[in-house]
Assembly symmetry: D2
Homo-oligomer: 122 residues x 4
């Protein structure tokens, strides 16, 4: 797997794609957020009737994996578009969120349970 | 904005985070796909009552932008987790999808309209 | 438009449908909640690139309305299934929520703005 | 559980609620579809880290059931609003969809599997 991803290059390809098709008028932040949700749900659809065990063995199915790769790519594409339109540095955003989550979910309170921090009974 | 993102480093941080909290048992592909959809919807919620014009001016609101950066990061985090669990090369997936979309949406048929390729009347 | 809807009769039809196909094993509350989200997103997909004005004129398009009616029905179907499985009285739930919303969104604070009650600056 | 639900009465309450708060300007079909998706995801969030077994035992948790009832009500509320705005007869839509599903999923092809009709290998 590639280690370094050139975000800017991907965003430039996507912008060019939109310009060529005169699609920027559709790509408002609101519409991109809606499209992102729709694509995430298309990914979820692949898993919706599976048991947890089925989902753990999904790599065995080449057909399912092909569908998953495409839906994941769609989610990533709209995420890149939205960050480009809003001038958001995605890597910095992820690093900041990981740091914040470490504060919200200290190990001694979170070990082995996934209770949302604001529903935790302390 | 950073140009090169080190995907592997982010994925390793996220894996470490999960291991320390014994959360890998929750992180089945199915559950990560559900979490991804939930986070995408939390992003959409910020925009849901806005007009297109409001959404185009959203960068003016520091408060909204703060919320958006966090939700975008959450979506990216679950996307990275899912790709790590399923050994998917996200950059290759995005590049392949852009190439496929160029075939599905040729410029002369798509210019100025966003009709889904399988609903197009040819 | 029909005024009285016989919820029980619809739920019985849906249960019979599931029993005949041996689908109850798939219809866990979690899976039904996932399916509900997926169907809601399919509805949203129809609107995702529309302007607000386009969406206000959607009744003019027989084709779009046909798609919308089907997606709305799918959402209602999974909602009915989930309420049946969890023994929830949907009408009572809606009435209770309207009453609760009236407290959360008093007219003098909410008139003309859609700020979520927990983000309101009082 | 109530058998007959007076859809019209609920829709009239919701319309009155919107009029009093001058919220009809926000309630375009597109925005209502987005809100519906957001609420469906909030329901899914309750289940996202549960195993299937956890989700089958959810009725045991009064706290979770309280959250679920509220989120289900929100989904139903936006569904009723959207049908009201678009003059869609929800009961007729559900009955038509059940009939259509019976054709798409004949018992002998669907028994015990949940393969989507358009992915079935016949």
């Amino acid at each position: 797997m590639e280690v370094e991803v050139n975000i800017r290059k991907l965003q430039d390809s996507l912008e060019e794609f939109a310009v060529e098709r005169d699609w920027n008028k559709f790509h408002t932040p609101k519409n991109l957020a809606a499209a992102l949700t729709v694509e995430a749900s298309e990914l979820l659809e692949i898993f919706q009737w599976m048991t947890d065990e089925d989902s753990l063995r999904i790599s065995d199915s080449e057909k399912d994996m092909g569908l998953i790769v495409e839906e994941l790519a769609d989610v990533q594409i709209y995420l890149l578009r939205l960050c480009d339109k809003l001038k958001i540095d995605l890597e910095a955003a992820v690093e900041a969120k990981i740091a914040k989550n470490a504060l919200k979910y200290p190990i001694h309170l979170s070990k082995g349970n996934a209770v949302k921090y604001n529903r935790r009974e302390e």
